[in-house]
Amino acid sequence: MADIETGLKGQVSRREVLKKGLVGAAGLTVLPTVLAACSSAASTPSATPTAAPTPTPGAATPTPAAGTPTPVALTGALHVGSNHSDPSEKKGMDAIDAAFQAATGLAVTLNTVDHNTFQDQINNYLNTTPDDVFTWFSGFRMRFFASKSLGTAIDDVWAGVKSNYTAGFTTAVTGDDGKVYGIPVDYYPWCVFYRKSVFSDKGYTVPSTWTDFIALCNKMKTDGLTPIAFADKDGWPAMGTFDILNLRINGYDFHVGLMTGKQKWTDPKVTAVFTQWKQLIPFYTAGFAGLTWQQACDTLVQKKSGMFLLGLFLTGEFDTADPSGAAKKDLDFFPFPFLGNQYDAEKSLDAPIDIWMMSAKSQNLQADLANAKAYLKFWAAGSTQVLMYKANNGFIPTASDADTTQYDVLTQKAVQIVSAAQKITQFLDRDTRPDFAGANGMQSFLLNFLSNPGQDLTKFQQSIQDFWDKLPAYTG
């Protein structure tokens, strides 16, 4: 059955992650394959339905191969490119690099670039003077650059740390050529965030159906709250809403098909997504097209808005906006409401995996190769990933030996929601080709819809499909 997976190369990697699970579990819960081991100390090997070695946290300690950094003194240099530009994440990077230096004696040269800028310039960066190792995303987005020979295969590193991951992760970091190109270091789910105190003060209850959700929005509006915080100046946050609506309305298979070009954007099923979306727009923050997600998040911190569909990384902005931590203690979330159709059972959601990659064109790479590999290996340890987690609770460690007792209530809940999901997607701009998802591609199309939801949808969807059809053939 394994050839089913390899036969599907070129598709959304998380699908393969999922299928790996499905193969073993005969159609049962999938993500536990990937994540159960870090979800709770109580999980047993029998709960992970694959044949691959999946150490439980308890069992992780005696397998130090991956878990503990090799105490070898390194010499030379290492250039590290990071998109962790938010203050909290930067702190996490500093802590990790300090730990790396303590373990190996090597001080890395850290090059931090603004998160959005890093993405925009990735082509130029990887083609000219990249750092030796760099932060990136799994999924189509990793395979796309691997297929352009802009990443170095790291099968040897992966072979050494693989035992510290549940089996599904291998497919998440495998390129079209079957080689491994990334080390998964964290993931985070997209959910609807809210303030517990606001809900209890006003007597709101967590909505689980669409009807309840809309009713709650209306109630919040009369109470003077912005029901749904929303911001799309950066272009990508709106993709999260498209993903979850498409997953809820049309199911995982259609969504993946749409992302990979097997389904058409002109399909009436896509019309249904936009039609449903129209109901939400009146509840959004005024001026959302000119706001960043951080600004919208601040309205949640200030209790001016009621709910916010975003990734768990939003907790970082809570740390920044309210350093006392009081606001974050008051934060909670729920999965996006269900629509009462056959896809409810999938409990699907976006839960992107972040990875570290090794570049191909770094001038220093040959000299730094051993250091780069040691660094990637270091990142594969739960103890390293927990350092980033401590700096920003939005990044849940992926390594099986991560110390889950460090997790706060929110994280435990996030792990639970992801584990309960039958189907997981990465995020629109990670699941589809980058030239389709770009600023004057899908980002602009979604903004166009949001600023003019009353437009002729047939024409609108046709223009998206035309854009897709225009793209050069992908030769993975």
Partner: protein, 336 residues
């Protein structure tokens, strides 16, 4: 003077004959007025700029034109697609016409508003009014600031009140405007006053900010020109009984012809290459599309649609050539 073989240095004598120096016409047996060193130097001085001009400017331009007929992504083998990119741009890509419209409005607003305002300020400041240096510094400050800073300053001013933008927070905070009606300066992509042909509302905000900077630029250029106008011309006009307005339009303005050409060319170039401001605001999405940002977003970002981006670049080149060539030929003709 030595007789040397000019085979390898062919351009030099030709250039010289073009410059009016009398040189014997027969190539193979003549005595040159130039030493070998002169010829090498001349070849270098003419050859290097010529090389740079041909290869770096026209060479790359022609490559872009060629690439615009492909769907190259920067890696895979180049595949010719004929006019596909152009037909899609003109008939299918919804952001193209928005960008063309915005570029034209940029040009229109600069020519019709910002540049005349800059000239007006220059004329006023030229009259030696008290504190002229202060006004000059104030109007010129935006030009000194990099556009990144200009973008930041105006985003702080014009963010929605949810993002603590100063103007909207003030409007809603003082109760002058209901929060729901507060203008969304950089976010509202609807057409200005609901009239389709006008730029989007956020583009209008951008044009305002761009003008704020452009006015100071033109003012300084023009002021420098005005300072060089011979004062005796004004005196003569005044003695002849001309008023201020007549003096400016009939005496000063015609004398300033060379500066005027510069001003027009600068204005056209500035409006067509507009990029930084909208890119800083939102990368040229949601009503702020410009041809330059479309090129960047499609060809130079994470998306590597080099063929498609080149087609947009070619169109931008054509758009830029039309007014520049038209104006320059007109100016040249009148000078002859």
């Amino acid at each position: 003077m030595s007789k040397i073989d000019t085979e390898g240095l062919a351009p030099a004598p030709e250039v010289l004959s073009g410059a009016g120096l009398a040189l014997p016409d027969k190539r193979h047996h003549h005595y040159s007025l130039l030493t070998a060193r002169d010829k090498v130097l001349l070849t270098l001085m003419v050859g290097v700029p010529l090389f740079v001009f041909l290869v770096l400017i026209w060479g790359t331009t022609l490559v872009s034109v060629a690439l615009s007929f492909t769907d190259w992504n920067g890696v895979d083998p180049i595949r010719w697609v004929g006019l596909d990119n152009y037909t899609y741009l003109l008939n299918g890509y919804p952001f193209f016409w928005e960008a063309v419209k915005n570029n034209l409005w940029y040009l229109l607003v600069f020519i019709g508003f910002a540049t005349p305002m800059g000239i007006l300020l220059a004329v006023l400041l030229d009259r030696e009014i008290r504190g002229s240096w202060l006004y000059q510094s104030i109007f010129f400050t935006p030009v000194v600031l990099s556009l990144a800073v200009v973008g930041l300053i105006w985003q702080l001013q014009l963010s929605p009140s949810a993002g603590n933008g100063f103007i909207d927070s003030m409007l809603t905070g003082t109760g002058l405007v209901a929060p729901a009606n507060a203008p969304d300066w950089f976010g509202n992509a609807g057409p200005l006053f609901g009239i389709g042909i006008l730029p989007s509302q956020n583009m209008a905000s951008v044009l305002l900010v761009a003008s704020w900077r452009h006015i100071g630029y033109i003012m300084v250029l023009y002021l420098a020109g005005l300072k060089s106008v011979d004062p005796s011309l004004r005196e003569a006009a005044a003695i002849d009984g001309a008023n201020e307005r007549q003096t400016f339009f009939h005496v000063v303005f015609p004398v300033m012809a060379p500066i005027n050409v510069v001003i027009v060319v600068v204005t056209v170039i500035e409006s067509l290459r507009a990029f930084d401001l909208v890119y800083i605001i939102n990368h040229g999405k949601n009503g702020l599309e410009l041809l330059s940002t479309l090129i960047t977003n499609n060809a130079l970002s994470e998306a590597q649609l080099i063929g498609f981006g080149s087609a947009i670049a070619v169109i931008l080149l054509l758009v830029a050539l039309v007014p520049i060539v038209a104006y320059l030929t007109r100016v040249m003709r009148t000078e002859e």
